[in-house]
């Protein structure tokens, strides 16, 4: 059933949330500066609650079903993390309070910085970036500042493999640098010859996702890093796929100079229907002074009677602030709680099971769906959503049909280098029965593609909405409800 828009549910004069009357004398309002109308809806609290609860029921979510969206790490979001972030001392403290009244938050951030350094193999971490792309921007600006500081502003070229997330080239452009795309080789790795050819005195750095978006561990990673370093460039790691590496290998140990973590992928903070995430950056020694800041520092060490004193410090050559205040602190609390729960011995179990689950799914599907590289995968893999016997069927049709089986489709049409790509990432929190049911559905869909292709072309059938007309949305461009369309309250 369609849920009306909030404005359509509004009734003039309906009393909403009540605030008290002022307990001070009223002051004169600023002459000529007050607004005449304010077009906000008027609803009772019950109407508001029903509206949003009904809307929520139109969503697929991790908590309602399997969500194997590649490169997104849709793992379970522990509930205790939600409670922790809402503790009054965290949720209701002001970012500019005197630091003596914020020692709890600063201690938490300091420890999280330490843990991320340890997990990534880095010399320093800044928690400021708000999302993965924001961490990328921070990282590439650091690389740029580093070369400028060393008197090498001609280094303006960032190498980006063709399998990279779109944010990598977009970040490079935003940072005022130039993108050069590198091809992949026949095994899904960076093409070493192409890399060698680009490694000259204009190279500022390389952005590398490892495992890459094909779900493959870069087989020559050390060679790739060495080539870039020998040419005087630095290596940026896109940490979107860090879930495969927890306790398995530290990017810093592989020679990465900077990497962003996605707390909302690897460290279980919820995706929130498109954020907020958090994208802390870790760096090696060379970029330590360039971190966006301020960062949390231990100003005075712990003594017998006193805990350590924490404060904020601006790294000496910092690229500056990338955000107001201290980053997404609420996400820091959740990630802290998550890391604390797995701890030293549990961290590797996350990667182990994420990778086992992905390989198990791949084994179940590869007889039916083409997998372009004959290799073990890491935490995700890419299959081709097409059949020789049914050329009219596309990855999109398979994706939409999966909804009828109660599953969220994989990431589709990415990476761009694979035809009809279906990028599948199960994560470690899914059980074998769920994976088996998914394989069963995928095999059933392949069978339907042969026997009843119209079932796929018309899918989804069992969801409250059918396929959306995206062309109409872009052509007619209705981006907000227009006053003229505001219907009077339903009779």
């Amino acid at each position: 059933m369609l849920e009306p828009l909030i404005y359509e549910l509004s009734t003039p004069g309906r009393p909403g949330h009540r605030f008290p009357d002022p307990d001070v004398p009223r002051a004169d309002l600023p002459a000529g500066m007050t607004r005449k109308e304010l077009m906000l809806p008027e609803l009772s609290e019950l109407e508001v609650v029903r509206h949003f609860v009904r809307l929520s029921q139109l969503n697929h979510a991790i908590d309602t079903g399997f969500y194997p969206l590649g490169s997104c790490s849709m793992k379970y979001n522990p509930k205790v993390n939600e409670d922790a972030a809402r503790l009054p001392g965290f949720a209701h403290s002001h970012p500019l309070q005197d630091l003596s009244t914020q020692q709890g938050s600063l201690a938490l951030m300091f420890r999280l910085q330490q843990w991320l350094k340890e997990i990534g193999g880095f010399a320093g971490v800044s928690l400021q970036p708000a999302a993965g792309a924001h961490g990328e921007l921070s990282g590439i600006l650091m690389i740029r500042a580093y070369h400028h500081q060393r008197g090498q502003p001609q280094r303006n070229k960032i190498l980006v493999p063709d399998s990279a997330h779109g944010t990598n080239p977009a970040t490079t452009t935003m940072s005022g640098l130039r993108v050069v795309e590198l091809p992949s080789d026949a095994r899904g790795n960076v093409d070493l010859e192409a890399l060698r050819a680009e490694c000259d005195e204009t190279v500022a750095g390389l952005m590398l996702t490892n495992p890459n978006t094909l779900g493959l561990f870069e087989e020559h990673v050390q060679e790739v890093v060495r080539l870039v370093h020998d040419a005087g460039g630095l290596v940026y790691g896109d940490g979107a796929n860090m879930n495969a590496l927890l306790g398995v290998v530290r990017p810093g140990d592989l020679g990465f100079d900077v990497l962003h973590f996605n707390l909302h992928k690897t460290f279980s903070t919820p995706h929130g229907g498109g954020g907020p995430g958090a994208g802390p950056v870790g760096v090696g020694d060379q970029l330590l002074d360039y971190l966006p800041g301020p960062v949390v520092a231990e100003l005075e060490p712990e003594t017998e009677d006193l805990p350590p004193l924490y404060g904020l410090e601006m790294p000496p050559k910092s690229i500056g602030r990338v955000k107001a205040f201290h980053g997404h602190f609420g996400m820091h609390v959740r990630a802290y709680s998550y890391i604390r729960s797995y701890g030293r011995s549990g961290m590797r179990a996350i990667a182990d099971h994420a990778v086992l689950n992905a390989n198990y799914l791949m084994a179940g599907l590869r007889q039916t769906y083409q997998v372009p590289f004959d290799r073990r995968c890491m935490h995700e893999f890419v299959a081709e959503g097409r059949f020789e016997f049914a050329p009219e069927i596309h990855a999109l049709d398979i994706s939409k049909r999966l909804m009828d089986y109660g599953f969220h489709p994989p990431t589709n049409y990415f990476p761009l280098i694979i035809r009809e790509a279906l990028m599948i990432e199960p994560t470690e929190t899914e059980s074998k029965p769920t994976l088996d049911a998914f394989v069963e559905a995928m095999l059933a869909i392949a069978e339907e593609a042969r026997s009843e292709p119209e079932l796929l072309k018309g899918a989804p059938h069992s969801t409250p909405f059918g396929r959306m007309d995206e062309v109409q949305a872009a052509k007619q461009l209705v981006l907000c409800c227009r006053p003229a369309e505001l219907a009077p309250a339903n009779p």
Binding site: F19, R35, L38, L108, G247, S341, S431, M468, A473, C480
Partner: protein, 444 residues
């Protein structure tokens, strides 16, 4: 505590299906000399232990429920109706991803569409995107929009000293790689009009400004438009419940931080950056956009639209690299504005206004303290203090009062001045206590 469900027997069956005898074998591609490092992390803990530990950490902070908060400066302690968090805690909202598959994401998509509508009406603008990280990054994105509108032919950006100092820092960070001059904010007395010329892509102002002043920017906007520059207004959204929307004095872009609309302080984040502009710039603006359409069954529905502007399609030529934004925070704003409604937002704004004016009066009546603002102000104002603000604030803390922001930290001209904010959560008694404590601090 672990959230991994596998039993030993399932693990064995799965390894057999994959064709390995141990999980280690799955990582054969990883260079052996750096594989499986020992991590120096704490031992795993149970949920009970983690909550105890976090409870202790949270109690080491002073929170705004234990103290009267007169601190604002870009983050404001407002009342959040209970209904807002109950909506945010719906699993279907907070455990969903960006709505790439519209057939099973209509909840998120319609809520964003409603958010865009609410922000258009609040700011008076024609289009709003689905969000930026915060007010500061929204301002930086507005600067980038202006550069794009002028297709890189204008290389000057005029900021004003009345914009939040951290916002101005973020703009400089974002644009450090662009050949661009950023001017206009080096001293309190600088006047933006004097910087306007044919090279200017954008002039940005804050409303109310960082010192709380309610300024009518109509003449500045006219002057900026006369040289072809765009005007960006950084607005406080609660103030917009009472004040003229920036569209009425010529804003081309309205940005700001939506935190006051139903988002807890949370030590400064996450919040949300709102971004609204004119229809003519819609294809140049960054960020997600939700548009109305219909489905194969003829039902009205919503999708992410104009995606060719975005990084996942256009890659190196995208308008921004933004991907994950502040979806759940947009939902908080939508739930807040829906529940307080037309009358409620105006009332909150007026409560702030009246209480702030009462507070300014009471403080200015204390010997040695003086109101600095010469223009009408909204819910923040500047007080010249007879003693260093840091010292006064220490004294106030002893009385469970969080005093104002020490302006001398960022504005040398304003050494000895304090910026105080008053919201609907402050009672008359809190204000009287503050005045009394200040009197006592000076006498001491």
């Amino acid at each position: 505590m672990s959230y991994i469900p596998h039993t030993e027997s399932e693990r064995r069956q799965m390894m057999a299906a994959v064709g390995v005898e141990s999980i280690d074998q799955l990582f054969a591609d990883v260079p052996a000399e750096v594989r499986f490092p020992e991590l120096d992390l704490p031992e795993p803990a149970s949920e009970l232990e983690i909550l105890e530990e976090l409870q202790l950490l949270s109690e080491a902070n002073l929170n705004t429920r234990e103290a009267a908060c007169f601190l604002g400066a870009g983050a404001y302690n407002h009342y959040i109706p209970s209904v807002v968090d109950h909506i945010l805690r719906r699993n279907e909202f907070y455990t969903a991803y960006t709505p790439y598959q519209p057939e099973i994401s209509q909840g998120t998509l319609q809520a964003i569409f409603e958010y865009q509508s609410l922000m258009c009406f609040l700011t008076g603008m024609e289009v709003s995107n689905a969000s930026h990280y915060d007010g500061a990054t929204a301002l930086a994105e507005a600067a980038i929009l202006a550069l794009n509108v002028h297709q890189g032919r204008r290389d000057k950006l005029v900021l004003t000293p009345g914009i939040h100092p951290q916002y101005r820092e973020v703009v400089r960070t974002y644009l450090q790689g662009q050949p661009l001059e950023i001017v206009g904010d080096d001293s309190l007395g600088s006047r933006p009009e004097t910087y306007l010329d044919e090279r200017t892509s954008l002039v940005a102002v804050q409303y109310p400004d960082f010192f709380g002043n309610i300024v009518d920017y109509a003449s500045l906007a006219a002057a900026a438009h006369a040289v072809g520059a765009l005007v960006c207004v950084v607005a406080n959204p609660i103030a917009l419940g009472l004040l003229k929307p920036p569209s009425e004095f010529g804003a081309d872009v309205v940005v700001g931080d939506g935190q006051p609309l139903g988002i807890p302080l949370s030590f400064g984040g996450p919040t949300i950056g709102f971004f609204a502009t004119r229809q003519e710039y819609v294809r140049k603006m960054s960020g997600r956009l939700v548009g109305e359409t219909s489905d194969s069954r003829g039902q009205r529905g919503y999708v992410l639209t104009l995606t060719p502007r975005e990084q996942h399609i256009r890659r190196g030529r995208a308008t921004s690299n933004i991907c994950t934004n502040q979806g759940l925070m947009a939902l908080a704003v939508t739930a807040y504005l829906s529940s307080v409604g037309r009358g409620g937002l105006r009332k909150v704004a007026e409560l702030c206004y009246h209480k702030a004016h009462y507070a300014a009066e009471q403080i200015a009546a204390v010997e040695g303290f003086q109101l600095w603002n010469r223009e009408p102000f909204f819910h923040e104002f500047v007080i010249r203090c007879p003693k260093p603000p840091a010292q006064l604030n220490q004294h106030l803390l002893d009385h469970d009062i969080l005093g104002g922001y020490d302006l001398g930290q960022e504005y040398p001209e304003l050494e000895g001045h304090m910026l105080l904010a008053v919201t609907e959560l402050i009672h008359k008694q809190d204000i009287d206590d503050l005045a009394a404590a200040l009197r006592e601090a000076v006498d001491a």
